[in-house]
């Protein structure tokens, strides 16, 4: 019952379509390439599964923060470029400045949080569209990245690699990398916070109806700072994981990540209008997209098709939420119930 409802609301159709794609890809490989020999299917080999998990963990960590931001009614396009900025910045401080690893970690988190809070400050005080504000920050970070690196990589020479190359062996060739473990822990933490804290309730309340939340005593301005700040922490952690795995501060380390992350969040059922969604949905979204991209790789499909697919998913999600809002407003809003002079909203500036 609950599952059916979730599929019917939100982005169930996209979810099912992706699931179907994976099954189809799997069947194609099974039938045409492997001659019905399941054991030979590369897609479900433990090694491949470990790989997929490792690959999705960065996107997954980013997607947790984005889920919080999007449930509370915002969006952040800047996370990909922020990763580039923080990632190359950290590499720069380790390599060129020669700071201690832990000092660099602290600095990385601090800078990420600081910039996110600054963005939250602008968004909460001015009511500007988060979309456009974060677009501006995106360009700022890109600039910083190239100012730091001049366009070339900064290797960190194997320092700081415990995050990327520590593994937990779960049998012959199935092993969980540290990034995956961090991802799962953060996921559980975010779930607990959303479910069992007042902050979690505020996330849903502010996204559901900002005016009502304000009148219910939620300090909207402070709250938004907090949400974006928390998002900054997730971006910083994701950056460290990836930096440690790659061992190099590449200026393209997070390029385009925001699109993957937003796609995963909307596939997971978070409403683009805010107020609904949860981190487990996002987790499924992240896995689904990761599996598809992996499956397409195995089949040898040109990887550029993945951009087409991710973009299509986002557009479809927007369309679906548009149509579902059309049908639900006609149900609940009678013509007499609206007070025409109150449409401006009540939240004080």
């Amino acid at each position: 019952m609950k599952v059916r409802n979730r599929l019917k609301s939100g982005n169930g159709p996209i979810f099912l379509a992706l699931l179907a794609t994976i099954v189809v890809v799997f069947m194609i490989e099974l039938i045409f390439v492997r001659d019905f020999n399941i054991a030979k299917v590369a897609f479900i080999k433990p090694r491949n599964i470990s790989n997929v998990l490792m690959q999705v963990s960065t996107t997954g960590i980013l997607a947790i923060g984005m889920t919080l931001v999007m449930i509370s009614g915002g969006i952040d396009l800047s996370i990909g470029q922020m990763m580039c900025f923080i990632g190359t910045g950290m590499a720069f401080m380790m390599r060129t400045v020669g700071l201690n690893d832990w000092v660099v970690v602290l600095l990385g988190v601090a800078v990420a949080v600081l910039f996110q809070v600054l963005m939250g400050f602008i968004i909460s005080r001015t009511k500007l569209e988060p979309f456009i504000v974060s677009l501006g920050f995106m360009s700022i970070y890109k600039g910083f990245t190239y100012l730091i690196t001049n366009g070339s990589e900064i290797t960190i020479e194997g320092r700081f690699n415990f995050l990327g190359s520590t593994y937990l062996n779960l049998g012959s060739s199935l092993r969980l990398g540290m990034p995956v473990i961090v991802f799962i822990l953060l996921e559980v933490l975010a779930w607990l916070v959303l479910k069992y804290t007042k902050f979690g309730r505020s996330v849903y309340a502010v996204g559901g109806n900002e005016n009502a939340a304000f009148l219910a005593g939620i300090n909207i301005k402070k709250f938004k700072l907090l949400v974006y700040g928390v998002n900054g922490i997730f971006v910083a952690i994701a950056t460290m994981v990836l930096l440690s795995r790659l061992g190099t501060g590449n200026p393209l380390i997070g390029d385009g990540k925001e699109i993957d992350v937003i796609a995963a969040v909307v596939v997971g059922g978070t409403a683009l209008s805010g107020g609904r969604g949860n981190v487990w949905g996002t987790l499924i979204g992240v896995f689904l997209l990761g599996c598809i991209s992996n499956a397409l790789n195995i089949l040898g499909v040109n990887p550029y098709w993945q951009y087409v697919m991710t973009g299509t998913i986002i557009v479809l999600a927007v369309l679906l939420s548009y149509f579902s809002s059309l049908s639900s407003t006609s149900v609940n809003a009678g013509p007499m119930k609206k007070k025409p002079n109150k449409e401006q909203g009540i939240v004080a500036n």
């Binding site: 849903y204 309340a205 009678g334 002079n341 009540i346």
Partner: protein, 496 residues
């Protein structure tokens, strides 16, 4: 027909789901006359405008315009026929200048190219005709409210205009601005324009109108020549309801002063001093836009007061946000429960506890506690729902309102501000809400009740404050309360 009628409406009926607004409504307008329309809030004035401007079509009845029957009316054809409507809210493009505003969507062209000189000349001509000193190149957003109204009139005139509908045009005007507008309207009428003038302000109607039609509950009560009309008659026609048949409320002993405002000013409210005692319902009456809800917003910290002070239990308090109002145990049940009261897409169990979170210091909120609290209130308030997991949007208006009440009850408030507590809910649910309110009084709490529903306000209030143009026009004790007196002060004929 002896009269030169430009408009003749016969047997107009209009209903919205659940409410009949017009029943068998007749109305006629002569050429070149200024026709005032009076009625209480919700009498059907705005529906009349909507029908005439083509925004809504009537369910039944006939409309004749200039002797020809009008088959169907939409906003575009209404304007083509010469019916121009100027709404209370401005409908201008703030970033465009006056010329561009006047011709927006109707640009004069030479073939494909816009003919700027001709538009400019015409604009100057019309502004001169209106004796206005606005420049055609002024950016509309930078003009004063009254100048903007003039621009709207100019825009109406530049198109073919035979009948002009003005809805509350003088809101936030000062006296000189009102005088100038009236001069313009009178000149228009002399030149053959017919004007429908809708206003809450009695003296405006008496100064301006040739005839006045009173509407009550969607029916025409009477049409008078202004010479035959007295204030008394007008108010009597606007009221005309038997209040004594209405809800009989239990009286509760009234205690000490709980809330007081002194010279509260700001947010469109001017110098308002009120006193609210324990166990008392203080009614606030007034026409739409008289500053009632704005006063509530000041007390609740939604908007900041410019001056004046608020006292709770004789102690001065500073309320700078809804959160601090809640900490001072004030509750605000807004008039727009869907827009500002509920989280429509969230279940009941997420709606009810939301204010109570401000009451505890712990950072945690346990879903089990939420459900328990919600179930308790669903029982107490008799909210009809299959479970507390039902989404708020799926409930009826009355039950939605009870969810809003439960949300505030859970916050353990002492002072309750109700803004239109029973708007859009059915009779049975209304009575339940009244009982709940009296129940609050019995617990020694205090209530401020803003309502446009006069019988409700009279039946429930211990005292009534009548507001007009942002200030207190009158304070009425229990024995002075009658619909006539309230209305007299609300539309501004009192005190003389």
């Amino acid at each position: 027909m002896p009269e030169d009628l430009i408009l003749n409406m016969k047997g107009i009926s209009k209903s919205y789901p659940g409410v009949t607004v017009f029943e068998n409504f007749d109305f006629s307008l002569r050429r070149g006359e200024i026709h005032g329309i009076c009625g209480e809030n919700g009498a059907g004035k705005s529906t009349l405008i909507k029908i005439l401007s083509g925004a809504h079509s009537p369910d039944d009845g006939s409309i004749e315009f200039e002797g020809a029957k009008v088959e169907s009316l939409d906003p575009y054809s209404a304007m083509q026929m010469g019916i121009q409507t100027i709404y209370q809210e401005h409908n201008l493009f703030p970033f465009l200048n006056v010329v561009e505003n006047l011709y927006a969507g109707n640009e004069l062209t030479n073939g494909l190219i816009i003919n700027k000189p001709r538009m400019l000349a015409k604009t100057q001509e019309i502004l001169e005709y209106l004796h206005s000193d606005i420049s055609p190149f002024d950016t509309v957003g930078k003009l004063s409210t009254s100048a903007r109204k003039t621009v709207e009139i100019a825009r109406a005139l530049i198109q073919k205009s035979k009948m002009l509908i003005l809805d509350e045009p003088t809101a936030s005007f000062n006296q000189t601005e009102i005088d100038r507008l009236f001069e313009i309207i009178k000149r228009l009428a002399q030149n053959g324009q017919s004007v429908i003038y809708i206003s809450h302000h009695l003296e405006e109607v008496f100064r301006l109108a040739d005839r006045v039609t009173v509407i009550r509950d969607g029916q025409k009560v009477n049409t008078y020549d202004i010479a035959d009309l007295t204030e008394q008659k007008l108010i009597h026609d606007m009221v005309g309801r038997d209040v004594s048949l209405f809800y009989q409320r239990k009286q509760v002993p009234i205690g000490d002063v709980e809330l007081e405002t002194r010279h509260l000013t700001g947010n469109g409210v001017k110098d308002v001093s009120i006193v609210l005692r324990k166990g008392e319902i203080l009614g606030i009456a007034g026409m739409d836009g008289s500053g009632r809800s704005e006063l509530a917003e000041l007390i609740f910290g939604v908007k900041k007061a410019e001056s004046g002070e608020i006292l709770i239990k004789d102690k001065k308090v500073r309320i700078k946000s809804p959160l601090s109002a809640i900490r001072h145990r004030i509750c605000f049940i807004t008039g727009d429960r869907q827009g500002t009261g509920l989280f429509l897409r969230h279940p009941i169990a997420r709606n009810i506890p939301i204010v109570s979170y401000t009451k505890t210091k712990t950072p945690f909120a346990l879903p089990g506690d939420d459900v328990k609290m919600s179930e308790r209130f669903v029982n107490i308030l008799n909210i009809r729902t299959p479970s507390v997991f039902q989404l708020a949007m799926l409930l009826s208006g009355g039950n939605q309102q009870k969810i809003v009440l439960a949300k505030w009850f859970a916050s353990e408030g002492e002072i309750f501000i109700f803004d239109e507590p029973t708007r859009g809910i059915d009779v049975g649910a209304k009575e339940e809400i009244y009982k709940i309110m009296v129940g609050l009084l019995e617990e020694n709490k205090s209530i401020v009740m803003i309502s446009s529903d006069m019988p409700e306000l009279i039946a429930m209030s211990d005292r009534i404050i009548v507001m007009r143009k942002g200030s207190v026009a009158a304070q009425l004790g229990k024995d002075e309360i009658s619909e006539e007196t309230i209305l007299k002060h609300a539309i501004g004929s009192g005190g003389k």
